[in-house]
């Protein structure tokens, strides 16, 4: 008779974490940072149609790395959550913190029980207004949620990129300068990323109710050359 092997809970979690981290490390990283007028989201993404960054609500943006189908599911669930909450109550009541919490709850549950852990990391960015602050919420694959006041890096190489971005300076500056710093941090000193391989979006008040907009390749090149 064969006996099942005993695996300690510590070992089980370690294995699952390793599995998820490996999946996440396979894709390219992305960075979200606050600039003087809003929040900038920059991802290295050679695909022009499979987006990593998208709009959730009037003042909320979303970004994810890792397995595409998994963060895409989280993205659509986020849009549904936001639109139905806004419909039931009011547009003001749709809040990034609550959304980050439901994401964290879902990722946490999938990590500890159920089948395979999700190989994703996501972030929810909010452009502040009145009593709501400008914030970036970073939710890791196991459901850990951190709230960042200045910037967040997602993806496999995040520690290196993080260090590089901090080295660029710690002041909040203009859109063009922030974009340059973000792209330099993503690429590193040894290579440069062409504008076509960048996916860039921002949350900024430009007079409309919806604040999310994508930056075209042309505009990105212009800003980088400035």
């Amino acid at each position: 008779m064969t006996m099942p092997f005993y695996v300690t809970p510590e070992q089980q979690m370690k294995d699952r974490a390793e599995y998820a981290q490996k999946g996440i490390a396979r894709g390219r990283s992305l960075i979200a940072c606050i600039y003087d007028e809003g929040v900038l989201l920059v991802a290295e993404n050679p695909s022009a149609s499979l987006n990593k960054i998208s709009e959730i609500y009037d003042r909320i943006g979303f970004a994810g790395v890792g397995k595409y189908n998994e963060f895409h599911e989280l993205r659509t669930a986020g849009v549904r959550w936001a639109d139905s909450t806004g419909f039931r109550y009011s547009r003001e009541d749709v809040d990034a913190r609550s959304l980050a919490n439901v994401y964290a709850q879902y990722l946490g549950t999938s990590f500890t029980d159920g089948g395979k852990p999700l190989e994703v990391e996501v972030l929810v960015a909010q452009l502040g207004i009145r009593n709501k602050p400008t914030k970036i919420y970073h939710i890791a694959f196991e459901g850990t949620i951190t709230d960042e006041t200045r910037f967040a890096v997602l993806g496999g190489d995040s520690e290196t990129i993080r260090t590089r971005f901090i080295a660029e300076g710690d002041d909040v500056t203009s859109l063009a300068e922030t974009l340059k710093r973000a792209v330099r941090a993503l690429s590193g000193p040894d290579r440069s990323i062409p504008a076509a391989d960048l996916e860039v979006a921002r949350l900024e008040d430009l007079g409309a109710r919806r604040t999310f907009s994508r930056l075209s390749d042309d505009l990105v090149s212009q800003l980088l050359a400035r």
Partner: protein, 264 residues
């Protein structure tokens, strides 16, 4: 609320209406009140540059319930949606349509085509109208960016959608507004001429239909005038709208209230 996740087989897709059903959020409130408030008379005209919409501001129950109601709304940048019928259901209808189009855009990362929007609303009208004693009759007019022209869609109470190649009219003032439009409309009208004709149609409706409000010079409340062109949805500033109605009013005063002759 928990994260709304669905099975692949039960996924509501980009439809906001389906999503609300799956989440058990009611679309509209059924049940009768003794005398619901009614909203009336909107016209939409097509011209080369796009479309023009003009709507009166009055909502009526047994007496006038509101003098400054807004019956035209921006559904999205290139689409205007207007309502007549039960005001409460109409306002809800506008809210759901706006959200539905935005929801689709965010889910699909692509804007719904104008024809797609007008078809989507057919089903929504059936939901709102057939389940409750309240009736909403909307009008959709917009600039079709895929085909580069203005388009007008009218509906019946059961959700039937009819595209108009000249103009559309909804509400209780329809006979009067439509008569004015029939006599004044011709191919090749400019945007400004369409605005003037649309305003005249609403003036006529306000003059003859008890449920339609004309320009209110005492309170400074004027019908809303909207254009949707390649530049998008633009509501005319109040000063300009006032000037248009003042001109009509002066002409009508000079003719001692008679409308006839050279279509004034």
């Amino acid at each position: 609320m928990a994260l709304p996740l669905f099975d692949v087989t039960s996924d509501p897709g980009p439809s906001f209406q389906n999503l609300l059903k799956l989440l058990n959020i009611p679309l509209s409130v059924p049940g009768a009140t003794d005398d619901p408030i009614h909203a009336t008379t909107v016209v939409a005209l097509r011209c080369d540059e796009g479309v023009v919409l003009v709507a009166d501001r009055q909502a009526t129950a047994q007496a006038i319930a509101a003098r400054d109601m807004r019956k035209i709304a921006e559904a999205d940048r290139f689409t205007a949606i207007a309502i007549s019928g039960t005001a409460a259901a109409g306002m809800e209808f506008i809210r759901i349509s706006q959200l539905s189009f935005e929801h689709y855009e965010k889910m699909m990362d692509e804007t719904l085509s104008l024809e797609g929007k007008s078809n989507y609303l057919s089903a929504l009208i059936q939901d709102v109208n057939l389940g409750t004693p309240f009736t909403v009759l909307p009008l959709v007019a917009g600039f079709d960016i895929n085909h580069n022209r203005g388009r007008v869609f009218e509906y019946d109470g059961a959700g039937g959608c009819y595209e108009k190649d000249d103009f559309g009219v909804i509400g209780s003032g329809t006979p009067f507004a439509e008569s004015a439009l029939r006599l004044g409309y011709r191919e090749g009208l400019s945007l400004t001429e369409c605005i003037e004709l649309g305003a005249l149609a609403i003036y006529e409706a306000g003059d003859n239909d008890p449920f339609t409000g004309g320009p209110d010079f005492v309170r400074g409340i004027f019908p809303i005038v909207v254009t949707v062109t390649a530049k998008g949805f633009v509501e005319q500033p109040e000063a300009e709208t006032r000037a248009i109605f003042e001109t009509i009013n002066q002409r009508r005063t000079a003719s001692k209230g008679r409308a006839g002759g050279d279509l004034r």
